[in-house]
């Protein structure tokens, strides 16, 4: 399936290079891709902090057609979960929650993964270091 065909399938989307930027429901599109077009492997979910919003990039692959498809969706603080479709999404979404603080609607099992349970802040966000008062250079009280 080529990208143009996929574009007609998905309403309201833009092509950015080989990336399909989605405006409406991600879950529905992944559902169609998995169950109708045999995209059966979710390679990874990547999150990128763009400042006021976060981009989530989904790399899907079909072992039958041997084709890749890349989906992209921009979210604020909440995103749609796809754990009903791919079990591995649990791991990816948990990692993104831990590092970016994005919560996924439909995934109730989000918890701290790499960071300690009582940690505040999300390390891979761009504003992380500036905000964190536990770091010595952000602590004003000692200098006063």
């Amino acid at each position: 399936m080529d990208l143009e065909e996929l574009k007609t399938l998905i309403e309201q989307c833009e092509l950015d290079g080989n990336k399909i930027c989605i405006k409406n429901s991600l879950y529905d599109i992944v559902n169609i891709l998995k169950n109708k077009y045999s995209y059966n492997l979710l390679k990874s979910i990547t999150a990128v902090d763009l400042g006021d919003e976060t981009e989530l990039i989904y790399n899907l692959y079909s072992t039958i057609d041997e084709e890749d498809v890349i989906l992209s969706v921009k979210v604020k603080n909440e995103a749609e979960s796809i754990i009903d479709l791919f079990d591995s999404a649990k791991a990816d979404e948990n990692e993104i929650y831990d590092m970016f603080g994005i919560s996924f609607i439909g995934n109730d099992d989000l918890k701290r993964l790499y960071m300690p349970e009582n940690w505040t802040g999300f390390p891979l966000r761009k504003d992380y270091v500036q905000d964190d008062t536990r770091l010595a250079w952000n602590d004003d009280t000692d200098n006063a």
Binding site: G17, L41, T46, T63, S88, A91, L124
Partner: protein, 363 residues
């Protein structure tokens, strides 16, 4: 009588967890009701670290993502930077990279074979496997000065031309008979068969649904080997090892067979080195290196499954965002499914058969 369950911590200091992995098992008698992996003991913040480093500063650290197969991550990172800059590798450099990658894969698989058998209580195969692995590590030490973190690949080439080819010839001469020895000691050993045959059955649908790749997926009957379509391996002839067994034994057997595939590729590489004698590189000045604005993604077949890197650049000296995808991360998460309903004494055999390495999981 009320039913009680027992919570058991397996690790993080358990000798057979291949690093520091903690599994929280819920047991009823000896049966596992649930498994919860606890990871993060080795977290070094590789992704955040990249955002504050230039590309050449970051290059030596990428070997540490998987210290048993460092070449693969070096190659992956160099490849992505080369892709962004539009560099195609000269033929000789490409062949040298393939040879070193496959040597590294053999070393990695050998260590796994030893460690896996050690998990099951067989001590001798560990020494045999380490003895053969030592030959490869000695070779790497001679060539690169390092036994594990080679830092040998650079953007557009390699540190220096390959040398000591007679050592590789020696490895290729000795290894086949040693693999035969392993097969004689291990493969049909009744104790080994009892502990691995039909244990930890991984159905292909479940494997795909959990994003398990690499040898574990191929041992479940799905022919997905990235080396086939990889441009680096262009011109090399080999067929991926695909087995239908789905169990821990098949995953062991697939890795034994992959040793031969890798040796076959190295042999072809050595022949082709003779045809491509001119050593030229396409090195760039790493101090002024800036990646053009955009997103760059590449992937490679690492010993523990599909590995990929995503780099977003805004045109500065440092990456804006860098993300690693590693095979072991998904294998660890598969344990939640794979261990349920099994007995505790099989847990180590099943977890061991997936070839998990923790620095890759924790990043």
């Amino acid at each position: 009588m009320t039913q009680t369950t027992l919570k058991l911590n397996l690790g993080p200091q358990h000798p057979s967890t291949h690093g520091v992995l903690r599994l929280i098992l819920e047991l009823e008698g000896e049966k596992i009701l649930s498994c919860e992996p606890d990871i993060g003991y080795l977290h070094r913040g590789m992704e955040k670290m990249a955002e504050g480093m230039t590309y050449i500063q970051y290059l030596p650290t990428v070997d540490r993502i998987d210290y048993l197969a460092g070449c693969f991550y070096s190659e992956l990172f160099c490849r992505t930077v080369e892709k962004a800059l539009g560099i195609t590798l000269p033929e000789r450099v490409r062949i040298i990279r393939v040879i070193l990658l496959e040597l590294n894969r053999i070393a990695s698989h050998l260590l796994w074979i030893g460690a896996f058998l050690m998990d099951l209580g067989a001590v001798s195969p560990f020494f045999y496997a380490m003895r053969e692995r030592e030959m490869i590590l000695r070779y790497f030490e001679k060539l690169t000065g390092q036994r594990m973190m080679y830092n040998y690949f650079v953007f557009g080439g390699i540190r220096k031309d390959i040398d000591f080819l007679e050592d590789i010839d020696e490895i290729l001469r000795i290894l086949p008979s040693k693999i035969q020895d392993y097969e004689r000691i291990i493969t049909d050993n009744p104790i080994f068969l009892q502990r691995t045959k039909a244990k930890g059955i991984l159905e292909p649908e479940i494997a795909l649904n959990n994003s398990v790749t690499g040898v574990n997926l191929r041992a479940s009957g799905i022919n997905y080997d990235l080396r086939i379509t990889d441009k680096l391996y262009e011109g090399f002839e080999f067929s991926p090892v695909v087995l239908e067994g789905k169990d821990a034994w098949s995953r062991y057997k697939a890795r034994i067979l992959e040793l031969s595939t890798s040796m076959n590729i190295i042999k072809q590489g050595l022949d082709r080195l003779n045809e491509n004698k001119t050593f030229e590189q396409k090195l760039i000045n790493p101090l002024t290196l800036k990646l053009p604005e955009g997103e760059f993604y590449s992937e490679i077949e690492a010993p523990r499954g599909l590995a990929s890197v995503y780099i977003k650049s805004t045109g500065t000296e440092t990456p804006y965002r860098l993300k690693w995808r590693t095979g072991s991360y998904y294998s660890v998460n598969l344990l939640r499914k794979l261990l349920v309903g099994e007995y505790l004494n099989d847990a180590i055999a099943i977890a061991g058969s997936l070839d998990i390495i923790l620095p890759e999981v924790d990043k």
